[in-house]
Amino acid sequence: MTADEIRRATIRISHEIVEKQAGTAGLVLVGIQRRGVPLAHRIADAIAEHEGVRLPVGALDITFYRDDLSLIAQQPLVKGTDLPFDLNGATIVLVDDVLYTGRTIRAAMDALVDFGRPQAIRLAVLIDRGHRELPIRADHVGKNVPTSREEIVRVHLAEIDGEDGVDIERLVPSLAEPVAG
């Protein structure tokens, strides 16, 4: 996926989010650390451009809600949660870069309900690579990318990595799945 394709997908998702809600009332965007956060800001920018409304954007760290903390050797680095709005009654659009097993989204939903009772939680992802292990699907998808489990999908975003792009890499035999599910 090129930088242009990422840009177009982000803009399309921003239109879909507003269309599904029939407006922007009650909408908030919550990016999952790390690459969901800049994506959520980009979607908010696009919505501000075509709707004239700036949606609140939050950041969610799901580390403490992972179901594999007891399995991994080193605790993952916590990057922090910042939800500067009331979640009660809001329609939350979770934003992440890659949807894979669904475990990250399960953890994110657990985390969100600890902050309040949202009216609805929706999911927007840049890449859906399949291989779900939980009954979770995305409402808005930038691109469906069929992959095998032996592959790694690497999303690069300018805000974090200096440039935009999505690569699919074949795993070296000794390396396996990335932390982000």
């Binding site: 760290d61 580390t63 007891s70 991994i72 080193q74 922090g80 690069h156």
Partner: protein
């Protein structure tokens, strides 16, 4: 950056691979136990500080509880009286959804003569993954660590070490120090009963690692042996020297931080101090004496305080005092430590095939 294989073994990419957007340094915690800070490196201390920031955010939530340690058994085993350390470890463990068991030695089989090692084995057999331990004998947690398959957190042993206190002191200083959290060259004075103080000893490791200009001050009888340690510290990698003096005026002059230590009456044997009244007159921290320090000096005390002895009541409640912040930060720092140690302990159980 690290990857995790399906079987749970972590694979670390070579440190030369720059982590995108990160600082490029490999931040990881590798200690199974936390017994003292002498073996903890500065990057590891910074990892504790960063993790504590995240725990502070958790504590600010409407429901200050996350499931990170669900299913982890934490036993709090205290052989000495304590309020803030015991309660803050308990609150910290509960905030992380651990299963907490409290044992006060006075009301347990210890009173029937059970040995420390037997108690540790029993606690392990009852399902403890981590033990937070306080003991009156220096080194007791090291013995416990030899006989326990999980993690030991030292909640204070004799005169020797109190690592979680030193880390919460450091976190509080970095949070409140006027001019920013960098301690390099900033003058930190630890004042009082240094001899009996595990708080002072652990703080020596963390504050010298932070680059502070550390001064230990008190009556000469309560500083015995520290000058030899100070001289040896210059050679310790990652640490700097510190100053040991009985000259209170020299110690307080232009100090950025002054930490008063409790006079440990229960450990005071004959001849160390003429009287509490004389100690208060010669070394008590008063507003007048603080006049020699920087005007924005931070005032600290690990508690519990003997007000009117090592610290005047009006100093303890002065606007520059961060004593209650120390207590508040204690919960967040201990959450960070439990969280980081739980990872290292899980690693241990796996590599030992358990």
């Amino acid at each position: 950056m690290s990857l995790v294989a399906p079987d749970g073994t972590g694979i670390d990419l070579p440190a030369v691979a720059p982590s995108p957007g990160g600082s490029g340094t490999q931040l990881r915690w590798s200690h199974r136990h936390l017994l003292d800070l002498d073996v903890v490196t500065w990057p590891e201390i910074e990892l504790v500080m960063r993790t504590t920031d995240a725990m502070r955010e958790v504590l600010a939530r409407p429901i200050a509880k996350v499931p990170a340690l669900r299913g982890t058994g934490v036993t709090i085993l205290f052989y000495e009286a304590s309020t803030r350390t015991r309660v803050s470890f308990e609150v910290a463990a509960k905030n992380l959804s651990a299963d907490v068991v409290n044992i006060a030695a006075a009301s347990s089989s210890v009173a029937k003569g059970e040995s420390l090692v037997d108690t540790i084995r029993t606690v392990e057999a009852l399902g403890a993954d981590m033990i937070v331990m306080r003991h009156g004998t220096s080194g007791a947690p090291y013995l416990a660590a030899e006989h326990f398959g999980g993690s030991i957190l030292n909640g204070g042993d004799g005169w020797h070490a109190h690592p979680s206190q030193a880390l919460l002191d450091l976190y509080t200083i970095r949070e409140h120090l006027p001019g920013g959290p960098d301690l390099h060259g900033r003058k930190v004075v630890i004042l009082g009963d240094v001899l009996h103080s595990r708080v002072a000893r652990s703080n020596v490791w963390s504050l010298t690692a932070a680059g502070a200009d550390l001064w230990l001050c008190g009556p000469a009888t309560l500083l015995r042996g520290f000058d030899r340690w100070a001289a040896a510290m210059g050679a310790a990698p990652g640490h700097g020297r510190f100053t040991v003096t009985a000259d209170l005026d020299a110690a307080l002059r232009d100090a950025d931080v002054v930490m008063a230590l409790r006079i440990q009456r229960e450990r005071m044997s004959g001849g160390l101090l003429p009287s509490l009244r004389e100690y208060a007159a010669r070394f008590g921290l008063t507003l007048e004496r603080l006049g020699a320090a920087r005007p924005d000096v931070l005032i600290m005390h690990p508690g519990p305080m003997n007000e009117g002895v090592e610290i005047a009541p009006e100093v303890a409640i002065d606007p520059r005092s961060v004593i209650t912040d120390q207590v508040t930060n204690g919960v967040a720092v201990r959450m960070a430590l439990l969280y980081l140690l739980a990872g290292a302990a899980g690693h241990h159980r796996e590599t030992s095939g358990g």
